[in-house]
Amino acid sequence: MSDLYHVSSSPHVRDKDTTSKIMLYVIIALLPASIFGIINFGLHALLLILVTIASCVASEWIFEKIVHKKSTINDLSAVVTGLLLALNLPPTLPWWEAVIGGVFAIVIVKMLFGGLGQNFMNPALGARCFLLIAFAADMTKFAFDGVTGATPLAQIRAGEDVNVMDMLIGRTAGTIGETSVICILIGAIFLILMGVIDLRIPATYIITFVIFILLFGGHGFDGNYIAAQLCGGGLMLGAFFMATDYVTSPITPTGKIIFGICLGVLTGLFRVCGANAEGVSFAIILSNLLVPIIEKFTVPKAFGQVKEVKKDE
Protein backbone atom coordinates (compact mmCIF):
# COMPACT_ATOMS: atom_id res chain seq x y z
CA MET A 1 0.00 0.00 0.00
CA SER A 2 1.37 3.34 -0.95
CA ASP A 3 1.98 5.96 1.68
CA LEU A 4 0.04 8.33 -0.50
CA TYR A 5 -3.27 6.80 0.49
CA HIS A 6 -2.46 6.52 4.13
CA VAL A 7 -4.77 8.98 5.86
CA SER A 8 -3.58 10.20 9.18
CA SER A 9 -4.74 13.03 11.36
CA SER A 10 -3.53 16.55 10.69
CA PRO A 11 -1.06 18.22 10.21
CA HIS A 12 -0.65 16.82 6.70
CA VAL A 13 2.03 19.21 5.54
CA ARG A 14 5.16 18.86 7.60
CA ASP A 15 8.19 21.09 7.69
CA LYS A 16 11.54 19.49 7.17
CA ASP A 17 12.96 21.33 10.19
CA THR A 18 13.55 19.27 13.28
CA THR A 19 14.30 20.41 16.78
CA SER A 20 17.87 19.19 16.58
CA LYS A 21 18.42 20.97 13.25
CA ILE A 22 17.20 24.30 14.63
CA MET A 23 19.25 23.83 17.77
CA LEU A 24 22.28 23.10 15.63
CA TYR A 25 21.74 26.36 13.75
CA VAL A 26 21.55 28.22 17.05
CA ILE A 27 24.80 26.61 18.20
CA ILE A 28 26.50 27.58 14.94
CA ALA A 29 25.17 31.12 15.32
CA LEU A 30 26.56 31.33 18.83
CA LEU A 31 30.02 30.12 17.78
CA PRO A 32 31.44 33.54 16.77
CA ALA A 33 30.50 35.05 20.13
CA SER A 34 31.81 32.00 22.00
CA ILE A 35 35.12 31.93 20.16
CA PHE A 36 35.55 35.64 20.64
CA GLY A 37 34.78 35.22 24.35
CA ILE A 38 37.45 32.55 24.67
CA ILE A 39 40.03 34.66 22.85
CA ASN A 40 39.03 37.70 24.87
CA PHE A 41 38.94 36.17 28.31
CA GLY A 42 41.29 33.22 28.06
CA LEU A 43 41.11 29.54 28.80
CA HIS A 44 38.96 29.82 31.92
CA ALA A 45 36.14 31.00 29.65
CA LEU A 46 36.56 27.86 27.55
CA LEU A 47 36.52 25.74 30.69
CA LEU A 48 33.31 27.46 31.86
CA ILE A 49 31.61 26.90 28.51
CA LEU A 50 32.53 23.21 28.45
CA VAL A 51 31.63 22.62 32.09
CA THR A 52 28.24 24.33 31.75
CA ILE A 53 27.31 22.43 28.61
CA ALA A 54 28.42 19.15 30.20
CA SER A 55 26.47 19.90 33.34
CA CYS A 56 23.30 20.67 31.36
CA VAL A 57 23.50 17.59 29.16
CA ALA A 58 24.42 15.32 32.06
CA SER A 59 21.62 16.58 34.29
CA GLU A 60 19.07 16.14 31.50
CA TRP A 61 20.28 12.57 30.91
CA ILE A 62 20.37 11.67 34.60
CA PHE A 63 16.97 13.23 35.30
CA GLU A 64 15.40 11.28 32.45
CA LYS A 65 17.06 8.08 33.67
CA ILE A 66 15.65 8.62 37.16
CA VAL A 67 12.10 9.28 36.02
CA HIS A 68 12.29 6.53 33.33
CA LYS A 69 11.72 8.81 30.40
CA LYS A 70 13.17 8.56 26.93
CA SER A 71 16.44 10.43 26.76
CA THR A 72 16.11 13.69 24.83
CA ILE A 73 19.71 14.84 24.92
CA ASN A 74 20.05 14.18 21.19
CA ASP A 75 17.78 17.11 20.36
CA LEU A 76 20.70 19.37 21.39
CA SER A 77 18.45 21.71 23.35
CA ALA A 78 20.44 21.07 26.52
CA VAL A 79 23.61 21.99 24.67
CA VAL A 80 22.05 25.28 23.57
CA THR A 81 20.88 25.98 27.11
CA GLY A 82 24.34 25.26 28.48
CA LEU A 83 26.06 27.38 25.86
CA LEU A 84 23.68 30.31 26.38
CA LEU A 85 24.08 30.07 30.13
CA ALA A 86 27.87 30.00 29.85
CA LEU A 87 27.84 33.04 27.58
CA ASN A 88 25.90 34.84 30.31
CA LEU A 89 28.42 34.09 33.04
CA PRO A 90 31.32 36.31 34.04
CA PRO A 91 34.61 34.78 32.88
CA THR A 92 36.03 34.58 36.41
CA LEU A 93 33.20 32.52 37.90
CA PRO A 94 34.32 29.40 39.81
CA TRP A 95 33.52 26.34 37.70
CA TRP A 96 31.39 24.58 40.34
CA GLU A 97 29.00 27.52 40.43
CA ALA A 98 28.56 27.13 36.68
CA VAL A 99 27.76 23.44 37.28
CA ILE A 100 25.06 24.37 39.80
CA GLY A 101 23.68 26.84 37.28
CA GLY A 102 23.48 24.13 34.62
CA VAL A 103 21.70 21.72 36.96
CA PHE A 104 19.25 24.44 38.00
CA ALA A 105 18.53 25.39 34.39
CA ILE A 106 17.78 21.85 33.26
CA VAL A 107 16.29 20.16 36.30
CA ILE A 108 14.31 22.94 37.95
CA VAL A 109 13.41 25.34 35.17
CA LYS A 110 13.02 22.82 32.35
CA MET A 111 12.51 19.18 33.34
CA LEU A 112 10.33 19.68 36.42
CA PHE A 113 7.85 21.56 34.27
CA GLY A 114 7.75 18.83 31.65
CA GLY A 115 10.86 19.21 29.51
CA LEU A 116 11.43 21.05 26.25
CA GLY A 117 8.30 22.87 25.13
CA GLN A 118 6.78 23.04 28.59
CA ASN A 119 9.20 25.30 30.43
CA PHE A 120 7.62 28.59 31.38
CA MET A 121 10.80 30.63 31.27
CA ASN A 122 14.07 30.51 29.42
CA PRO A 123 16.16 27.90 31.31
CA ALA A 124 19.47 29.63 30.68
CA LEU A 125 18.20 32.97 31.93
CA GLY A 126 16.35 31.42 34.85
CA ALA A 127 19.62 29.84 35.91
CA ARG A 128 21.53 33.06 35.36
CA CYS A 129 19.14 34.96 37.62
CA PHE A 130 19.35 32.15 40.18
CA LEU A 131 23.14 32.43 40.17
CA LEU A 132 22.94 36.21 40.25
CA ILE A 133 20.94 36.08 43.48
CA ALA A 134 22.74 33.04 44.91
CA PHE A 135 26.33 34.14 44.26
CA ALA A 136 25.92 37.88 43.92
CA ALA A 137 29.59 38.64 44.57
CA ASP A 138 31.01 36.17 42.04
CA MET A 139 28.39 36.95 39.42
CA THR A 140 29.12 40.68 39.40
CA LYS A 141 32.89 40.46 39.42
CA PHE A 142 34.12 41.30 35.97
CA ALA A 143 37.69 41.32 34.82
CA PHE A 144 39.22 42.19 31.49
CA ASP A 145 42.89 41.71 30.62
CA GLY A 146 43.47 40.50 34.14
CA VAL A 147 42.23 43.75 35.61
CA THR A 148 39.02 43.76 37.59
CA GLY A 149 36.89 46.58 36.33
CA ALA A 150 33.39 47.84 35.88
CA THR A 151 31.36 46.82 32.86
CA PRO A 152 30.70 49.57 30.32
CA LEU A 153 27.11 49.79 31.55
CA ALA A 154 28.25 50.38 35.11
CA GLN A 155 30.65 53.01 33.82
CA ILE A 156 27.87 54.82 31.95
CA ARG A 157 25.79 54.68 35.09
CA ALA A 158 28.63 56.22 37.06
CA GLY A 159 28.77 59.02 34.50
CA GLU A 160 32.06 57.97 32.93
CA ASP A 161 32.79 58.05 29.23
CA VAL A 162 32.96 54.77 27.34
CA ASN A 163 34.45 53.89 24.00
CA VAL A 164 31.61 52.68 21.78
CA MET A 165 34.04 51.25 19.23
CA ASP A 166 35.54 48.96 21.90
CA MET A 167 32.07 47.85 22.84
CA LEU A 168 31.20 47.03 19.23
CA ILE A 169 34.28 44.87 18.87
CA GLY A 170 33.96 43.51 22.37
CA ARG A 171 37.18 44.54 24.04
CA THR A 172 35.47 45.38 27.32
CA ALA A 173 34.63 43.71 30.61
CA GLY A 174 31.43 41.70 30.73
CA THR A 175 30.09 38.18 30.57
CA ILE A 176 31.77 35.70 28.25
CA GLY A 177 29.45 36.07 25.28
CA GLU A 178 27.86 39.47 25.58
CA THR A 179 30.76 41.81 24.92
CA SER A 180 31.18 41.58 21.18
CA VAL A 181 28.19 43.10 19.42
CA ILE A 182 29.67 42.35 16.00
CA CYS A 183 30.04 38.64 16.70
CA ILE A 184 26.50 38.44 18.07
CA LEU A 185 25.14 40.25 15.02
CA ILE A 186 26.97 37.84 12.68
CA GLY A 187 25.23 34.97 14.46
CA ALA A 188 21.90 36.79 14.44
CA ILE A 189 22.08 37.47 10.69
CA PHE A 190 22.85 33.80 10.12
CA LEU A 191 19.78 32.80 12.13
CA ILE A 192 17.56 35.28 10.30
CA LEU A 193 18.82 34.09 6.91
CA MET A 194 18.20 30.47 7.88
CA GLY A 195 14.69 31.42 8.95
CA VAL A 196 15.21 30.25 12.50
CA ILE A 197 14.28 33.48 14.23
CA ASP A 198 11.68 36.06 13.46
CA LEU A 199 12.78 39.68 13.37
CA ARG A 200 9.61 40.94 15.10
CA ILE A 201 10.71 40.35 18.68
CA PRO A 202 14.29 41.70 18.49
CA ALA A 203 13.27 44.65 16.33
CA THR A 204 10.41 45.82 18.55
CA TYR A 205 12.54 45.11 21.61
CA ILE A 206 15.40 47.30 20.44
CA ILE A 207 13.19 50.07 19.05
CA THR A 208 11.11 50.26 22.24
CA PHE A 209 14.26 50.26 24.32
CA VAL A 210 15.76 53.13 22.32
CA ILE A 211 12.57 55.17 22.62
CA PHE A 212 12.45 54.50 26.36
CA ILE A 213 16.07 55.53 26.83
CA LEU A 214 15.50 58.66 24.74
CA LEU A 215 12.54 59.68 26.87
CA PHE A 216 13.65 58.64 30.32
CA GLY A 217 17.40 58.01 30.12
CA GLY A 218 18.12 61.54 31.24
CA HIS A 219 20.64 62.18 28.47
CA GLY A 220 18.28 63.36 25.76
CA PHE A 221 19.33 62.74 22.19
CA ASP A 222 22.93 61.78 22.88
CA GLY A 223 24.07 59.40 20.14
CA ASN A 224 27.04 58.13 22.07
CA TYR A 225 24.93 57.34 25.13
CA ILE A 226 22.27 55.50 23.15
CA ALA A 227 24.84 53.50 21.20
CA ALA A 228 26.59 52.57 24.41
CA GLN A 229 23.32 51.47 26.03
CA LEU A 230 22.54 49.35 22.97
CA CYS A 231 25.95 47.72 22.78
CA GLY A 232 26.44 47.35 26.49
CA GLY A 233 25.36 44.46 28.63
CA GLY A 234 23.36 41.54 27.36
CA LEU A 235 20.88 43.49 25.27
CA MET A 236 22.01 42.18 21.87
CA LEU A 237 22.57 38.62 23.07
CA GLY A 238 19.22 38.70 24.86
CA ALA A 239 17.29 40.25 22.00
CA PHE A 240 18.46 37.87 19.29
CA PHE A 241 19.12 34.63 21.14
CA MET A 242 17.11 34.53 24.31
CA ALA A 243 13.95 36.58 23.73
CA THR A 244 13.37 34.62 20.52
CA ASP A 245 13.35 31.23 22.25
CA TYR A 246 10.42 29.37 20.67
CA VAL A 247 9.11 27.90 23.87
CA THR A 248 8.99 31.06 25.93
CA SER A 249 7.97 33.69 23.38
CA PRO A 250 4.49 34.25 21.94
CA ILE A 251 3.56 32.34 18.82
CA THR A 252 1.14 34.92 17.40
CA PRO A 253 2.50 37.79 15.22
CA THR A 254 0.79 40.53 17.25
CA GLY A 255 1.85 38.80 20.42
CA LYS A 256 5.48 38.95 19.32
CA ILE A 257 5.26 42.71 18.92
CA ILE A 258 3.60 43.15 22.34
CA PHE A 259 6.25 40.86 23.83
CA GLY A 260 9.02 42.98 22.29
CA ILE A 261 7.47 46.17 23.67
CA CYS A 262 7.22 44.63 27.16
CA LEU A 263 10.88 43.63 26.94
CA GLY A 264 12.01 47.07 25.83
CA VAL A 265 10.07 48.91 28.51
CA LEU A 266 11.15 46.54 31.29
CA THR A 267 14.80 46.59 30.26
CA GLY A 268 14.78 50.39 30.10
CA LEU A 269 13.03 50.58 33.44
CA PHE A 270 15.53 48.24 35.10
CA ARG A 271 18.53 50.01 33.60
CA VAL A 272 17.34 53.52 34.38
CA CYS A 273 15.67 53.02 37.76
CA GLY A 274 16.99 49.65 38.96
CA ALA A 275 19.66 48.96 41.53
CA ASN A 276 21.89 47.24 38.96
CA ALA A 277 23.23 48.64 35.73
CA GLU A 278 21.94 45.59 33.84
CA GLY A 279 18.37 44.38 33.52
CA VAL A 280 18.07 42.32 30.36
CA SER A 281 17.84 38.90 31.98
CA PHE A 282 15.24 39.93 34.53
CA ALA A 283 13.24 41.71 31.81
CA ILE A 284 13.23 38.59 29.64
CA ILE A 285 12.20 36.14 32.34
CA LEU A 286 9.48 38.50 33.59
CA SER A 287 8.13 38.87 30.07
CA ASN A 288 8.32 35.08 29.65
CA LEU A 289 5.78 34.85 32.45
CA LEU A 290 3.44 37.19 30.55
CA VAL A 291 3.50 35.09 27.38
CA PRO A 292 0.43 32.90 28.13
CA ILE A 293 -1.67 36.03 28.73
CA ILE A 294 -0.31 37.76 25.62
CA GLU A 295 -1.11 34.71 23.50
CA LYS A 296 -4.59 34.45 24.93
CA PHE A 297 -5.49 37.96 23.81
CA THR A 298 -3.79 37.94 20.41
CA VAL A 299 -5.30 34.87 18.79
CA PRO A 300 -5.45 35.75 15.09
CA LYS A 301 -8.77 35.71 13.29
CA ALA A 302 -9.27 32.54 11.33
CA PHE A 303 -10.12 32.87 7.64
CA GLY A 304 -13.83 33.51 7.25
CA GLN A 305 -14.40 34.07 10.93
CA VAL A 306 -17.00 36.70 11.68
CA LYS A 307 -16.97 38.77 14.78
CA GLU A 308 -19.76 37.68 17.05
CA VAL A 309 -22.52 40.30 17.11
CA LYS A 310 -24.10 40.88 20.45
CA LYS A 311 -27.83 40.40 20.25
CA ASP A 312 -30.10 42.85 21.97
CA GLU A 313 -32.26 41.00 24.34
Binding site: P94, E97, I100, I108, F130, I133, A134, F135
Partner: protein
Amino acid sequence: MNKNVERLYNGIIKENPTFVLMLGMCPTLAVTSSAINGLGMGLSTTVVLILSNLLISAFRKVIPNGVRMPAYIVIVASLVTIVQFVMEAYTPSLSASLGVYIPLIVVNCIILGRAESYASKNPIVLSIFDGIGMGLGFTVGLTSIGLVREFLGAGQLFGHQVLSLDWFTPITIFVMAPGAFLVLAFLVAGMNIIRKKMDAKGKPLAAPSGCLTGDCASCGQSAMCTGKKAKTE
Protein backbone atom coordinates in the same frame (compact mmCIF):
# COMPACT_ATOMS: atom_id res chain seq x y z
CA MET B 1 -3.55 2.69 69.23
CA ASN B 2 -4.16 4.86 72.22
CA LYS B 3 -6.38 7.73 71.12
CA ASN B 4 -4.04 10.36 72.53
CA VAL B 5 -1.03 8.86 70.79
CA GLU B 6 -3.09 8.62 67.64
CA ARG B 7 -3.66 12.40 67.83
CA LEU B 8 0.09 13.01 68.07
CA TYR B 9 0.80 10.69 65.12
CA ASN B 10 -1.96 12.37 63.16
CA GLY B 11 -0.51 15.84 63.72
CA ILE B 12 3.13 15.04 63.12
CA ILE B 13 2.93 12.55 60.25
CA LYS B 14 -0.46 11.85 58.77
CA GLU B 15 -1.81 15.38 58.61
CA ASN B 16 1.39 17.32 59.02
CA PRO B 17 0.19 20.91 58.66
CA THR B 18 3.19 22.01 56.62
CA PHE B 19 3.85 19.12 54.28
CA VAL B 20 0.43 17.51 53.95
CA LEU B 21 -2.29 20.02 54.73
CA MET B 22 -0.24 22.99 53.46
CA LEU B 23 -1.66 25.22 56.17
CA GLY B 24 0.04 28.23 57.68
CA MET B 25 2.10 28.89 54.55
CA CYS B 26 2.75 32.54 55.40
CA PRO B 27 5.03 31.97 58.44
CA THR B 28 6.35 28.80 56.79
CA LEU B 29 7.77 30.79 53.91
CA ALA B 30 8.58 33.99 55.73
CA VAL B 31 10.43 33.11 58.93
CA THR B 32 12.28 29.91 58.07
CA SER B 33 15.50 31.58 56.99
CA SER B 34 17.26 29.77 59.84
CA ALA B 35 16.53 26.67 61.87
CA ILE B 36 16.31 28.58 65.13
CA ASN B 37 13.68 30.93 63.67
CA GLY B 38 11.67 27.96 62.45
CA LEU B 39 11.93 26.26 65.81
CA GLY B 40 10.94 29.43 67.69
CA MET B 41 7.99 30.09 65.42
CA GLY B 42 6.87 26.46 65.61
CA LEU B 43 7.11 26.25 69.39
CA SER B 44 5.32 29.54 70.02
CA THR B 45 2.55 28.41 67.68
CA THR B 46 2.46 25.08 69.53
CA VAL B 47 1.98 26.81 72.88
CA VAL B 48 -0.83 28.94 71.53
CA LEU B 49 -2.39 25.95 69.79
CA ILE B 50 -2.39 23.74 72.90
CA LEU B 51 -3.89 26.45 75.08
CA SER B 52 -6.44 27.57 72.51
CA ASN B 53 -7.54 23.97 71.91
CA LEU B 54 -7.84 23.52 75.66
CA LEU B 55 -9.92 26.65 76.18
CA ILE B 56 -12.10 26.23 73.12
CA SER B 57 -12.76 22.62 73.98
CA ALA B 58 -13.64 23.61 77.55
CA PHE B 59 -16.03 26.31 76.37
CA ARG B 60 -17.43 24.38 73.43
CA LYS B 61 -20.87 23.98 74.99
CA VAL B 62 -21.02 27.63 76.10
CA ILE B 63 -20.01 29.38 72.89
CA PRO B 64 -23.11 30.04 70.73
CA ASN B 65 -22.75 28.65 67.25
CA GLY B 66 -23.51 31.95 65.53
CA VAL B 67 -20.61 33.86 67.07
CA ARG B 68 -18.10 31.04 67.39
CA MET B 69 -15.49 32.61 65.07
CA PRO B 70 -15.27 35.91 66.98
CA ALA B 71 -15.15 33.93 70.21
CA TYR B 72 -12.24 31.82 68.93
CA ILE B 73 -10.42 34.91 67.74
CA VAL B 74 -10.76 36.56 71.16
CA ILE B 75 -9.37 33.45 72.89
CA VAL B 76 -6.50 33.04 70.42
CA ALA B 77 -5.66 36.74 70.45
CA SER B 78 -5.41 36.83 74.23
CA LEU B 79 -3.09 33.82 74.20
CA VAL B 80 -0.95 35.27 71.44
CA THR B 81 -0.57 38.52 73.36
CA ILE B 82 0.67 36.59 76.39
CA VAL B 83 3.13 34.58 74.28
CA GLN B 84 4.34 37.73 72.58
CA PHE B 85 5.03 39.51 75.89
CA VAL B 86 6.80 36.43 77.29
CA MET B 87 8.99 36.21 74.21
CA GLU B 88 9.81 39.91 74.29
CA ALA B 89 10.86 39.53 77.92
CA TYR B 90 12.91 36.34 77.76
CA THR B 91 13.98 35.84 74.13
CA PRO B 92 14.25 39.39 72.78
CA SER B 93 16.48 38.51 69.83
CA LEU B 94 14.19 35.73 68.62
CA SER B 95 11.21 38.00 69.12
CA ALA B 96 12.92 40.67 67.03
CA SER B 97 13.75 38.28 64.20
CA LEU B 98 10.24 36.81 64.07
CA GLY B 99 8.79 40.31 64.13
CA VAL B 100 5.22 40.67 62.97
CA TYR B 101 4.75 36.94 62.52
CA ILE B 102 4.21 36.41 66.24
CA PRO B 103 1.11 38.67 66.39
CA LEU B 104 0.01 37.09 63.13
CA ILE B 105 -0.38 33.73 64.89
CA VAL B 106 -3.85 35.08 65.75
CA VAL B 107 -5.02 34.51 62.21
CA ASN B 108 -2.93 31.40 61.61
CA CYS B 109 -5.19 28.99 59.80
CA ILE B 110 -3.81 25.97 61.66
CA ILE B 111 -5.10 27.33 64.95
CA LEU B 112 -8.51 28.39 63.67
CA GLY B 113 -8.69 25.19 61.62
CA ARG B 114 -8.05 22.96 64.64
CA ALA B 115 -10.45 24.99 66.75
CA GLU B 116 -13.19 24.66 64.18
CA SER B 117 -12.65 21.08 63.09
CA TYR B 118 -11.46 19.42 66.28
CA ALA B 119 -11.47 21.31 69.57
CA SER B 120 -15.05 22.54 69.19
CA LYS B 121 -16.32 18.95 68.93
CA ASN B 122 -14.05 16.91 71.17
CA PRO B 123 -13.26 16.54 74.86
CA ILE B 124 -10.51 18.52 76.54
CA VAL B 125 -7.72 15.92 76.84
CA LEU B 126 -8.01 14.78 73.24
CA SER B 127 -8.02 18.40 72.10
CA ILE B 128 -4.84 19.09 74.05
CA PHE B 129 -3.13 16.13 72.42
CA ASP B 130 -4.42 17.27 69.04
CA GLY B 131 -2.84 20.65 69.74
CA ILE B 132 0.46 19.07 70.76
CA GLY B 133 0.49 16.86 67.67
CA MET B 134 -0.39 19.61 65.23
CA GLY B 135 1.97 22.07 66.90
CA LEU B 136 4.86 19.62 66.83
CA GLY B 137 4.06 18.78 63.22
CA PHE B 138 4.25 22.47 62.37
CA THR B 139 7.49 22.80 64.37
CA VAL B 140 9.04 19.84 62.59
CA GLY B 141 8.02 21.29 59.24
CA LEU B 142 9.37 24.77 59.94
CA THR B 143 12.57 23.54 61.55
CA SER B 144 13.40 21.19 58.71
CA ILE B 145 12.83 23.91 56.12
CA GLY B 146 14.93 26.26 58.26
CA LEU B 147 17.70 23.68 58.60
CA VAL B 148 18.00 23.15 54.85
CA ARG B 149 17.85 26.86 54.08
CA GLU B 150 20.39 27.78 56.74
CA PHE B 151 22.74 24.98 55.73
CA LEU B 152 22.73 25.85 52.02
CA GLY B 153 22.38 29.58 52.41
CA ALA B 154 24.91 30.24 55.15
CA GLY B 155 26.70 26.94 55.85
CA GLN B 156 25.36 26.99 59.39
CA LEU B 157 23.28 24.70 61.57
CA PHE B 158 21.41 26.41 64.42
CA GLY B 159 23.78 29.36 64.13
CA HIS B 160 26.99 27.30 64.23
CA GLN B 161 29.26 27.51 61.22
CA VAL B 162 29.59 23.90 60.03
CA LEU B 163 30.88 24.55 56.53
CA SER B 164 34.02 26.64 56.63
CA LEU B 165 33.73 29.85 54.67
CA ASP B 166 37.29 29.27 53.46
CA TRP B 167 36.04 26.94 50.75
CA PHE B 168 32.27 27.21 50.93
CA THR B 169 30.52 30.05 49.13
CA PRO B 170 27.08 30.45 50.70
CA ILE B 171 24.26 30.06 48.19
CA THR B 172 22.54 33.17 49.51
CA ILE B 173 19.37 32.65 47.48
CA PHE B 174 18.33 30.01 50.00
CA VAL B 175 18.09 32.45 52.90
CA MET B 176 16.08 34.80 50.70
CA ALA B 177 12.43 34.49 49.69
CA PRO B 178 12.85 32.36 46.54
CA GLY B 179 14.80 29.79 48.55
CA ALA B 180 11.80 29.24 50.83
CA PHE B 181 9.63 28.25 47.89
CA LEU B 182 12.31 25.99 46.41
CA VAL B 183 13.02 24.17 49.67
CA LEU B 184 9.34 23.79 50.56
CA ALA B 185 8.58 22.38 47.11
CA PHE B 186 11.36 19.81 47.36
CA LEU B 187 10.43 18.75 50.88
CA VAL B 188 6.76 18.32 49.90
CA ALA B 189 7.88 16.34 46.86
CA GLY B 190 9.96 14.14 49.17
CA MET B 191 6.94 13.62 51.41
CA ASN B 192 4.88 12.58 48.38
CA ILE B 193 7.56 10.08 47.35
CA ILE B 194 7.37 8.50 50.81
CA ARG B 195 3.59 8.43 50.52
CA LYS B 196 3.78 6.67 47.16
CA LYS B 197 6.33 4.15 48.40
CA MET B 198 4.11 3.30 51.34
CA ASP B 199 1.17 2.88 48.97
CA ALA B 200 3.19 0.52 46.82
CA LYS B 201 4.22 -1.49 49.84
CA GLY B 202 0.58 -1.94 50.72
CA LYS B 203 0.81 0.09 53.89
CA PRO B 204 -0.74 3.34 52.71
CA LEU B 205 -0.60 6.37 54.92
CA ALA B 206 -4.20 7.43 55.36
CA ALA B 207 -5.18 10.10 52.86
CA PRO B 208 -5.07 13.58 54.31
CA SER B 209 -8.54 14.81 55.01
CA GLY B 210 -7.56 18.42 55.53
CA CYS B 211 -11.15 19.13 56.46
CA LEU B 212 -12.00 22.24 58.32
CA THR B 213 -15.60 21.28 58.86
CA GLY B 214 -15.90 17.58 58.05
CA ASP B 215 -18.81 18.49 55.83
CA CYS B 216 -17.97 17.47 52.28
CA ALA B 217 -21.08 18.95 50.70
CA SER B 218 -20.23 22.55 51.54
CA CYS B 219 -16.46 22.21 51.21
CA GLY B 220 -14.84 24.41 48.57
CA GLN B 221 -11.94 22.01 48.13
CA SER B 222 -13.98 18.87 47.64
CA ALA B 223 -12.95 18.69 43.98
CA MET B 224 -9.33 17.94 44.83
CA CYS B 225 -9.89 16.25 48.17
CA THR B 226 -8.64 12.70 48.42
CA GLY B 227 -10.19 12.00 51.76
CA LYS B 228 -13.84 12.26 50.79
CA LYS B 229 -13.97 9.14 48.62
CA ALA B 230 -13.56 6.86 51.59
CA LYS B 231 -16.55 8.51 53.18
CA THR B 232 -18.92 8.52 50.26
CA GLU B 233 -18.15 5.08 48.93
